[in-house]
Symmetry: C2
Amino acid sequence: MAEADPIRRLIHQLSRLPGVGEKTATRLAFHLLRADRAICLDLARALEEVSAQVGLCGRCANLAAIDPCPTCRDERRTDDTICVVERPQDQWALERAPEYRGRFHVLHGALDPLSGIGPEQLQIASLLHRLAPAAVREVILATNPTVEGEATALYLARLLKPLGVKVTRIAQGVALGSEIEYADQGTLSRALAHRHDFG
Amino acid sequence: MAEADPIRRLIHQLSRLPGVGEKTATRLAFHLLRADRAICLDLARALEEVSAQVGLCGRCANLAAIDPCPTCRDERRTDDTICVVERPQDQWALERAPEYRGRFHVLHGALDPLSGIGPEQLQIASLLHRLAPAAVREVILATNPTVEGEATALYLARLLKPLGVKVTRIAQGVALGSEIEYADQGTLSRALAHRHDFG
């Protein structure tokens, strides 16, 4: 009955999700079957809607149901600064920081030649396109502080500087509320190198 | 944009799954958005099909897309023995033990007065109905070796014995406090082989 049975089919589909093995998929499937069927259909509808409605914003390349996306439409934000992130969820996190009132741009990844991710696979052409009208004065590079994220930031800096735009990188150091004792060596080296006048 | 945004709506629906918090739901949602859209739609379709097609088998009360279910239709199985389990996934586990070639009956829970689960909330009337034609000679009680499962087994034994049917309980080869769904095949085989008179 393997694949012909709808329960097994649901388990198979659930087990394709990241971090969900067959046992977890089975548990989730039986939960959905035992619970109110509305939960099952609500989830199905949410998946269909997201698939049908969500696309890339024509300006910032973020995932959104409308184009331009709500952040690009937000009139309280200024056009003179663009914060470049790797993924949409990075933008979500940065939007919670109330200090930043500029725009965003989502690369959808980071340079990773070994995995075949070059500049053409990222939303870099669309970023350059946004800089053309010269209204943008600063680009903040907020790619992850990983090998790939650093390489991407370096690549973008070399690409953007000749265009006369100010290029900055988010500060790297010890996280607020963390303990220095447990910070890794790379973080501490960066925190020391980027120390600033204080008091 | 909270609930109006389809991505947030999908995250909300995913976070209703057991063991899935908001962070995991967000990770799953963005995976589904980043991955091939077919994965998203395949999962939606699987959820709809399971919701539309799966119901209780009119004989054994197991969840199945056809009525009677494949196990009740299986002509290699004999009608003289019924193995009573709490949940469909318990039956799935026991079906893997090749020694048992009889039928099953799914109670859909165990007696739990504190949660308002009495005999009326379980598939006990349908079990009694199956015993009426007197073709059944033995009922194996394979409820979980938990407080509720033991109480349910005891209740069923007292109910069934006066009907002249042999009532057995799976051996306590399965560890106390564990769940049948997750027991290994060897343990389940031992538990079936060592069933004993009960009540």
